[in-house]
Structure formats: structure tokens, C-alpha cells
């Protein structure tokens, strides 16, 4: 049971004890799927707990990410804090994020909402020398959406040649690989990273990745063949071309919708003093063009290309991350122009640390100020009927204040101002959102 006390404050623990509740009783007040997984964890760790001294404070060890090593975004899946329990060969980690928000669009408000956005669990294991396993299960909006985002095995033959197989993050852009909530000072994920590129996209497949180190430089690559998107890219209720819609296929871990593999690849280069630049490329046939041997349609491809850059300067007091992506989708000319053949979007986050000192006992607490600028154009093109520009775009500016008592926990206050044009370019809808929330690894 001790594993659960770790993420609770002492005072909350004592309060619950006074109320005669165990942590597991409190924890079990959540919904059924969550309860099932929690039960499994309790049993798993409970067995090991029982075999060890209950009061052994050294029993649970936190494994912090190795910040000394030069890392790439592609390392993000392993570059997380984990807990190890005794001699258990599995390390566990995760994060959760919740917030409240007040939003209004053109003066019409849904007033206040509390949102429990994500609860994510990681399990990693070193199976043997040079053989690793990692998995990530994510619960979004409580238990509304449960996704197995990562469950892959890595075998290292050489630092330049690692075989990865299983369910993996397709390396489309940097955000898709490095999306954990506590790493970001913004409550919302970037618009372009979630609606132009489909973060978080994971698929089943195999491929290679590797890195080459030289002094202050590191070059990495990834190249995977996985299952791909499906017809929902151009047949969805978003009424626009959407890679995001095309990833929502419950059968995607079982079979490829098109019967053809999708290629995802990325090359990234990082200099310790300058930063990291990555270029990624994904392409594949998304539609069910053939079934039972009968050809139903021509093969239609979806391609995404993205460039990302991140840098940390002035002794980590200034952090800049940016990503831009363009998408090409083969939409039939006889289909609706609401579904565009090209999209692009991007974002830039600029974060500055204005205070870094001991606060309330936290030795290296940080107060950050930041700004996100983001844009997405969902339909690049012109109307056949008029030659006029097709709009369907959105931009937003998001100032933020973030307090990080420790590096793995962030309290963040955001204000989002957003304007969105419809397909025709009519006067935009204006949205304002005030958000306050937290995100933390545990």
C-alpha cells in the first residue's frame, strides 16, 4: 500500500487516517476501469510490500531523469521520473493533470468547469542487458478515453542500431514524442500539435532508432513502419480534413486499415549549447481502397512533414520551443472542399524564469512567465466556385504564469485569447479562456 502514500501529502494522509479511511478506499472512489487497474497495482505491489518491512523508507526509490546526459526529444519516453520498488524489476511512473477553467466564445459562456484531463501510468523494465521495455497507459477526461499509447520493446545492437517493436509513438514533430503535461507550462496542448498533427499518435509496428555522439553534438534518427490512419481523415464529424480523426480506430493495433504500412521517420540534431533541430516525415495510404480482393477506390495517401526546434539558454532561464507542420492529404476532387488537401500550423513557446529560489521549503522553486503563439490553417486552397481563399483557420495567444515548486510539478495560470474563422472567412469567433491547473509526475 505504501506506493500510494507516496503521492499524497503527509497532512492528507493523516486526515484520511483520522477519518478512518485507507488510501486505497479513497482511491477506489473512482470509476470502474480505474478501479480495476488500481486493484491490479495494489495486488502487485502489495505482495512485495508484505514481504518487506512496512516502515522501510528506502523501499521505494525515485529514479530521476539523468539531466547530465545530452538528450533528444526522441528520448522523452525514457527520460521521466520513475519509482522502483524493492527488487521489483519494474519501475513505475506517471503523471496527472487537472485544471479549472472559465471560457466564453463571443460572450456566450459555459461558466466554470473543473477538468481532470489526464492520468497516465508508465511501466518500464530492463529485461536484460540492452533489452528494455516501456509502456504508457493514459486515461483522458477521467475514464472517457483510455489509450495504450506506448508498449514497446527496445533491443540495442549498437548505439546506432536499436530495434523497437510494439506500440510506439510515431515521431511526427517533437510534441508527439515529448508531450507529458508536467513538462509544459500551458494547460492546453498546442493547437497545431493536436489538430494538424495528431498528438498523441501511436501505432503498432517495428523500426530502428539510434544516436551518434560527438563532443557537444548528438545526432539521432528514427525510422518505423507501422499501421496507419484510416478513412476518418476525410470522413469525420469535425467536417474538415483531420489526421486526429484518422487515428481514432479501435482496430488499429490489430490490422492496418489500408493493408499497407505507414512510414514515420525523424532526424534530429542537438548541440548542447545551441539546442535541438528535428525534421520528421510520415506518409502512408489511409483509406480502405481494397476489401476482399475488390478494389473500392484508388489508394489515397496522407503525408505530414514537421520541423521542430528547442533551446534552453541563460543557464536554463530561457526556454524556447517551436514546431511547424504541414500536411498533405489526397482528397478526391469530387468530394467536398470542406476537406482540404493541405494544412499547416505551428506554435512557439517562450518561457522565462523570473524567480528561482527557495520558497516554502522547496529549494529550487521557479516562477516562470511565458507566452505561446499558435496558428493552424486547416484548409489551404481556393474555392473552385469563386477563386476566393478558403479560410478555416485559428490563431491564439496564450500568456502564462507557472510556478514549479520542483521540476516535476507545475502549477499554471493561463489566459487564452483565440480567434477562429470558418471555411468562408466570415467574421471570426472570439474565445477567451482562463485556466488554472496543475500537472505533476508522481
Amino acid at each position: 500500500m505504501k506506493i500510494f502514500t507516496y503521492s499524497y501529502s503527509i497532512s492528507s494522509q493523516r486526515r484520511k487516517e483520522r477519518e478512518g479511511k485507507t488510501n486505497s478506499q479513497v482511491y477506489f472512489a473512482s470509476s470502474a476501469p480505474l478501479r480495476a487497474i488500481t486493484l491490479a497495482l495494489v495486488l502487485l505491489f502489495g505482495v512485495f510490500s508484505a514481504a518487506n518491512a512496512q516502515k522501510d523508507s528506502a523501499f521505494i526509490k525515485r529514479v530521476l531523469p539523468d539531466t547530465a546526459k545530452i538528450k533528444l526529444n526522441m528520448d522523452a519516453v525514457y527520460n521521466r521520473p520513475f519509482l522502483t520498488v524493492g527488487k521489483l524489476p519494474i519501475a513505475i511512473g506517471g503523471y496527472l493533470e487537472a485544471n479549472t477553467q472559465y471560457s466564453a466564445t463571443d460572450g456566450v459562456s459555459d461558466d466554470f468547469s473543473f477538468q481532470f484531463r489526464r492520468f497516465t501510468l508508465f511501466f518500464s523494465s530492463t529485461i536484460a542487458k540492452k533489452i528494455k521495455f516501456l509502456s504508457e497507459i493514459e486515461f483522458e477526461d477521467g475514464t472517457k478515453e483510455i489509450n495504450l499509447e506506448f508498449a514497446a520493446m527496445d533491443i540495442e545492437f549498437h548505439p546506432l542500431v536499436n530495434l523497437r517493436g510494439g506500440i510506439m509513438m510515431n515521431p511526427i514533430g517533437a510534441f508527439n514524442q515529448n508531450h507529458d503535461g508536467p513538462r509544459w507550462d500551458f494547460v492546453d496542448r498546442p493547437i497545431s500539435a493536436t489538430t494538424i498533427l495528431p498528438a498523441t499518435l501511436s501505432n503498432v509496428g517495428f523500426g530502428l532508432h539510434g544516436k551518434y555522439f560527438a563532443h557537444n553534438w548528438i545526432v539521432g534518427y528514427e525510422a518505423y513502419l507501422t499501421n496507419g490512419f484510416n478513412d476518418k481523415i476525410i470522413s469525420n464529424t469535425e467536417n474538415r480534413t483531420s489526421l486526429r480523426a484518422g487515428k481514432s480506430d479501435p482496430d488499429k493495433f490489430e490490422e492496418s486499415n489500408s493493408g499497407l504500412p505507414m512510414f514515420s521517420g525523424k532526424i534530429a540534431v542537438r548541440n548542447r549549447k545551441i539546442g535541438e533541430l528535428g525534421i520528421s516525415y510520415t506518409t502512408g495510404v489511409f483509406n480502405k481502397w481494397k476489401q476482399d480482393g475488390l478494389v473500392l477506390d484508388s489508394k489515397r495517401s496522407a503525408t505530414a512533414i514537421a520541423a521542430d526546434f528547442s533551446t534552453s539558454q541563460f543557464n536554463n532561464r530561457l526556454y524556447i520551443v517551436a514546431e511547424v507542420a504541414k500536411v498533405f492529404v489526397d482528397v478526391p476532387s469530387t468530394y467536398s472542399q470542406t476537406f482540404g488537401t493541405q494544412q499547416w500550423g505551428g506554435f512557439i513557446d517562450i518561457i522565462g524564469t523570473v524567480v528561482q529560489r527557495k520558497v516554502l521549503g522547496w529549494e529550487k522553486a521557479k516562477l516562470n512567465l511565458g507566452m505561446r503563439l499558435e496558428y493552424a490553417d486547416y484548409n489551404i486552397g481556393k474555392f473552385i466556385e469563386t477563386g476566393g481563399n478558403i479560410a478555416d483557420d485559428v490563431w491564439a495567444v496564450v500568456p502564462c504564469i507557472a510556478f514549479r515548486p520542483v521540476g516535476t510539478t507545475v502549477l499554471r495560470l493561463n489566459y487564452r485569447y483565440q480567434q477562429q474563422h470558418d471555411l468562408l472567412g466570415n467574421p471570426p469567433t472570439k474565445t477567451g479562456i482562463i485556466q488554472f491547473g496543475f500537472s505533476t509526475y508522481f
Partner: protein, 407 residues
């Protein structure tokens, strides 16, 4: 001893101030988010005076009309014009050439001879793997820009007697204007409305560019079927196969959408007290525009109190008028001749650019891109008003246009 205590109190005070600031921020949220545009700047929104229960139905209809996007899985097509109602009526306003409909048939009024070839409406888009419809050889066609939806419930409640009172088929008053209603047979699923007058089994239709639809249920069922390729219990035939299918939209949803259309507010005129707008209104009457674009009509009884026995200002007589050879596309519906068009309501005209991508697309097919162009394309029964408009001084033209933009 006191110093550490004071420091502790100071720290606590700082936390309290922080939380107080956060509290102030949260309670002032309303001031930090975009405000509601003026009511007269928007076409959407319910008519005033709906009960809570009626507002709930309005919201259901609103969601179905504006948010429900059809896909292949939910019945779209297989050939279609648009994927949702809202695609053609952004903000409940007039449509854009992108979603302009094409209808085809022949020039005479003997009934559409191309029904077995997909008439009357062309589905010019198709799901992947399917081929859109083509206009068959020998057919004539016309393009129809989607109209604004606002105030339709008021128009539906104008009595047939009132419409007939405005008609002058033989131009008895000699003003050159001879509006006629479009008498048509209507589908079996439609029930006679109150205040309906029938003639030889035909009914006065009032919705659509050629007044081809009897009421909003008729209009809605047709739009689901012909625009989106969605079948219902009312219109069970699939536009692609021509075969009856299971309903792809429920009767409840159709009824909700009809209620939504019935209870959308009427457009609100802006700058009514502006002297130039008032002068423009007088010019509008003086040059004869008001002879067809009737300013004021009244509704009959309705079970919805907010619509019952109300005076409203749509600027239409709901009658067909010969608009001359320039607007004759050689296509007809019901008893309407090829050059005849139902007088379009002018209310909401000034807000059209807000739903048409920032510019005007006026007349039945959007061929006029300014109000002045639209006036100058009036012929036939409106020729005289057109000539009078062209003879106006620039100042008079300006105030007239200002008036029209205030609607």
C-alpha cells in the same frame, strides 16, 4: 522571538495576497473574455418569449442543424451537396457560391421530366469511390444560393388569405406588377396548416427561390434528402440508389430542426433612427420597391406564443414575379414560370457579408456582388423600379443603399 514571528506573518500575508489576487481574477473572469456582439449584429438566436421547454427544443434543433455533420457511416450521400445543414447556412445567414445548389428540369410547367434521372437537384459531390451526378442531356438548370434561415417561423404563419390578397395575377391595378402564388401538389406526409387555402388539390407554397416548398417541414425534409443524401420516414428514398432505405435521421431530429427554424428570431434592423436610413426607406417606397418587397406582414395563430399573431417586417410578398429575360434560367418548379422568382425577404440583407465570406452574393444564384448590381439586374415586373433607381441622384441612391444595409 518577535522577528521570526513577524517574518512568518509576513510570509502568510504574502500567500493570502496571492490567493486574494487569484480570487479577484476568477470573479472578474467575465470581464476578461470576449463580450457578446449586439443582438442586431447577429442572425442566430431564438425569438424572444420562448418558454423554458421551447428553448430546450430550440437548443436540440440548433445542435442538429449546426453541429451534426454526416459521414458515410451516418448516411451521407453517397452523392450530396453538403455534409451538414450548417455548412450552407453559416450563422444562419445566406449561403456562399461554394454551397450553391443546382436544380435541373425543363422550361415548361408540366412537371419535371427528369425525375428518373436524379432531378430536381444535382448532387455535385460524392463519397470517395462514387461519381457525382451529372446534368442529363436536354435538361435546363438553375443555381440557387442558400437563403438565410432567420424569421422563417413568422413567414410560415402568414395566412394564405393574406398572400392571395397581395396577388394581382392580371395586374388589375395597372402598376405593372402581377404577383402570383405558386400552387403545387404537396407530399402526403404534410398536413394542412391552419389558414391554408387549396385549389384543385394544390396548395400555396412559399419557401425556396421559386416558392417550391409548402412549409418548413417540407423544406427541411427536402434539404436532408437532396442536399445531404439523408433519408427520413418522410422521404425514405435514397438519392443515389433511388431505393427506400431505413431512416438515416430520426423523426425527432427532423422535428427539432423544424422547431429551430420556426423559432429563430427575425433579423433586427440597425440604425433605425438614422435620418439617412429613414430617407432611404422613403426612397424605397417611392420607386416602387415596396410593391413586391412588402415591409409588413402578420402571422396567424400559433401554439408558440412568441410567434402568434405578430406583426413583422420581412420585405417580401411571398409571391412569384416575372423578373425578365436576364434572370430567366429556363428552369421551373411547380407553377412558376422560368422567369418567375419568389420575392426574397430583404430582412438581414445588411448582415449577408457576415455569412458570405465578407462580400455579397445576391439574387437567386449569387451573381450580384453588390446591392446596387442586384437592383440593376431587376427586369420584368421590376423593370420600372430599376429605371427609377437609375434615375435617382447619387445622394438618393446612397441613402437607399444605406437603408437596405440597415435591414
Amino acid at each position: 522571538m518577535f522577528v521570526p514571528l513577524l517574518i512568518q506573518i509576513y510570509d502568510i500575508m504574502k500567500q493570502l495576497i496571492l490567493f486574494a489576487n487569484l480570487f479577484v481574477l476568477l470573479v472578474s473572469c467575465e470581464k476578461l473574455v470576449p463580450s457578446l456582439p449586439a443582438d442586431d449584429e447577429l442572425l442566430d438566436g431564438p425569438v424572444e418569449g420562448l418558454t423554458s421547454a421551447q428553448q430546450a427544443i430550440f437548443l436540440e434543433g440548433d445542435a442538429a442543424f449546426n453541429n451534426q455533420v454526416f459521414t458515410a457511416e451516418t448516411g451521407l450521400g453517397s452523392i450530396f451537396v453538403a455534409t451538414s445543414c450548417g455548412t450552407c447556412h453559416a450563422g444562419d445567414g445566406k449561403g456562399h457560391p461554394f454551397t450553391t445548389l443546382t436544380r435541373f428540369g425543363q422550361p415548361d410547367t408540366n412537371g419535371n421530366q427528369f425525375l428518373n434521372q436524379g432531378a430536381p437537384q444535382l448532387q455535385n459531390r460524392a463519397l470517395p469511390g462514387f461519381t457525382p451526378e451529372q446534368i442529363p442531356a436536354g435538361a435546363t438548370s438553375s443555381k440557387f444560393t442558400p437563403p438565410a434561415n432567420t424569421g422563417l417561423g413568422f413567414i410560415e404563419l402568414v395566412s394564405d388569405a393574406d398572400i392571395l390578397a397581395m396577388a394581382d395575377p392580371n395586374d388589375a391595378d395597372g402598376d405593372g406588377i402581377s404577383g402570383v402564388p405558386n400552387w403545387k401538389h404537396i407530399p402526403d406526409y404534410l398536413e394542412e396548416l391552419d389558414n391554408t387555402i387549396s385549389q384543385n388539390g394544390k396548395y400555396i407554397c412559399r419557401f425556396g427561390k421559386k416558392a417550391g416548398a409548402y412549409n418548413l417541414l417540407h423544406q427541411t425534409v427536402n434539404a436532408y434528402n437532396q442536399d445531404i443524401g439523408i433519408t427520413s420516414v418522410f422521404e425514405p428514398k435514397d438519392v443515389y440508389s433511388g431505393l427506400e432505405t431505413d431512416p438515416e435521421v430520426s423523426t425527432q431530429v427532423v422535428n427539432d430542426v423544424v422547431f429551430y427554424l420556426q423559432t429563430l428570431k427575425a433579423p433586427i434592423q440597425r440604425n433605425q433612427d438614422d435620418a439617412q436610413v429613414q430617407q432611404g426607406g422613403q426612397v424605397f417606397i417611392n420607386i416602387g420597391c415596396e410593391n413586391c418587397h412588402k415591409q409588413t406582414l402578420t402571422t396567424g395563430f400559433s401554439s408558440v406564443d412568441a410567434l402568434s399573431n405578430k406583426e413583422f417586417h420581412p420585405y417580401t410578398d411571398l409571391l412569384l414575379h416575372d423578373m425578365g429575360s436576364g434572370l430567366d434560367d429556363g428552369y421551373t418548379e411547380g407553377g412558376a414560370l422560368t422567369s418567375e422568382w419568389r420575392t426574397p425577404a430583404l430582412w438581414g440583407l445588411g448582415l449577408s457579408p457576415n455569412s458570405q465570406g465578407g462580400q455579397y452574393f445576391l439574387l437567386h444564384d449569387g451573381r450580384a456582388t453588390t446591392i446596387q448590381q442586384a437592383i440593376e439586374m431587376h427586369g420584368g415586373e421590376a423593370e420600372n423600379s430599376n429605371i427609377q433607381f437609375q434615375n435617382l441622384s447619387q445622394t438618393e441612391k446612397d441613402v437607399l443603399l444605406k437603408f437596405l444595409k440597415s435591414l
